[in-house]
């Protein structure tokens, strides 16, 4: 077991972890932040997308020990004060989610995009969520929602 200390959604977390534990399992099982999802076992689906030090990453391709000393943001941080962000509101308004399973990862990828490129074009939006699979929407309304949030 290895001691780690990092920030999760603004709060300090100090734990001991088994080096083989994936960050996504640590977040879900140990920290009970179950908004971050698992949709594949090969890093393709993006349901586990979070931000580590501001960068969008797939938390199934990081070990929990690697998060030591970083600052992590998960979907639970977006409406931290109880008020949905513009992006979250746009997702609902544009019907960008059906089953909602890919949504947390999709929101984190889109959040990352909008922070770095607030005026993204449709092509840039599609490229930004390429690493996030959605099986319900054909991405039509997801792209539309992110477009709404850029305006």
């Amino acid at each position: 077991m290895i001691p780690i200390s990092f920030q999760v959604n603004g709060e300090t977390v100090e734990r001991e972890v088994d080096p083989r534990t994936l960050l996504v399992h640590f977040i879900r099982d140990d920290l009970d932040l179950t908004g971050t999802h698992v949709g594949c076992d090969t890093g393709n689906c993006g349901a586990c997308t979070i931000l580590v030090d501001g960068e969008a990453v797939k938390s199934c391709m990081l070990l929990a020990v690697q998060a030591d000393g970083t600052s992590v943001e998960t979907v639970e941080s977006l409406a931290g004060d109880g008020e949905l962000t513009r992006l979250q509101q746009a997702f609902s308004a544009a019907h960008a989610l059906q089953c909602g399973y890919c949504t947390p990862g999709m929101l984190m990828s889109a959040t990352y995009l909008l922070r770095n490129n607030p005026e993204a074009t449709e092509r840039e939006i599609r490229k930004a969520i390429q690493g996030n699979i959605c099986r319900c929407t054909g991405y039509v309304n997801i792209v539309k929602a992110i477009q709404e949030a850029t305006r």
Partner: protein
């Protein structure tokens, strides 16, 4: 998912990393982890000790060499290549190719060193390395070795980086003009066939990916047909189809370079 038991160390310097890699036969360097962790999830390969290079900032630099070439640290990520102004000026093809690898999240973690060290025949950078004459700087207990692509790539998932050694940087000689072409599974997806080309002083050098365990180098698209390829047949393409695509990619890469 669900890795085997593994030990983890996070060295603070290249020397510490080398010491850690030497201390255990089953030690492997963990760069961006975008391949290695996946392979470990499948339990297909199971290192005993992971030596995390994540905090080795000395491997994350991009510099211009005296001769106008580039020196790129092994831990430089794809995302870094895409936004680095030195790369953009000296070798924009690197940024262009990096932008086609997987997706945003993977590009934020995946590294140029990891891409070539994993030596997956469908990877993007091995053909570039072969076409552009990259030099791979490998450090070990005995000091540093410098290898050409030909010496570096030994097989699928297999390179000249030996036990206790570490790829620290690559240098790219000042170039001519470059090209890259691929046929992929889905837009910007896994390469079914790819090729990189460089034209320098009127001489073309084309390297084909996906058609053998290591990049296959030819000097013109016409040579592709007779080149020593051993393309696999799989669910995405037959060997013959890959041969054909290799030729098309070679021509397109060369057109871009010319």
């Amino acid at each position: 998912m669900l890795l085997r038991e593994v030990q983890y160390v996070r060295p603070g310097s290249v020397d510490e990393a080398l010491a850690a890699l030497s201390s255990h036969e089953g030690a492997r360097a963990l760069a961006g982890g975008q391949t290695l962790i996946n392979v470990m999830k499948a339990r297909a390969a199971s290192p005993d000790v992971l030596v995390d290079l994540g905090r080795l900032d000395e491997l994350r630099t991009v510099e211009r060499n005296g001769d106008g070439g580039l020196r790129i640290g092994a831990m430089v990520t794809y995302a870094q290549l895409m936004r680095d102004s030195t790369v953009g000026e000296a070798r924009p093809i690197l940024a262009e190719v990096a932008s086609q690898i997987a997706d945003v999240q993977v590009r934020n973690r995946g590294t140029i060193g990891g891409n070539i060290c994993s030596s997956d025949p469908t990877n993007h950078f091995p053909p570039l390395a072969a076409a552009q004459g990259w030099r791979m700087h490998v450090r070990g207990p005995e000091g540093e070795r410098e290898l050409s692509a030909d010496e570096f790539f030994l097989g699928v998932y297999f390179t000249a980086v030996g036990p206790g050694e570490l790829l620290t940087a690559i240098t790219i000689p000042a170039g001519g003009s470059d090209g890259f072409a691929s046929v992929t599974l889905g837009a910007d997806g896994t390469c079914i066939a790819n090729a990189a080309a460089q034209v320098r002083d009127g001489q073309a050098r084309i390297a084909l990916g996906c058609v053998g365990a290591t990049p296959v180098v030819v000097s013109s698209p016409e040579d592709v047909r007779t080149a020593a390829m051993d393309p696999p047949s799989d669910v995405h393409a037959s060997a013959d189809y890959r041969r054909h695509l290799a030729e098309v990619c070679a021509r397109r890469a060369l057109e871009q370079a010319a």
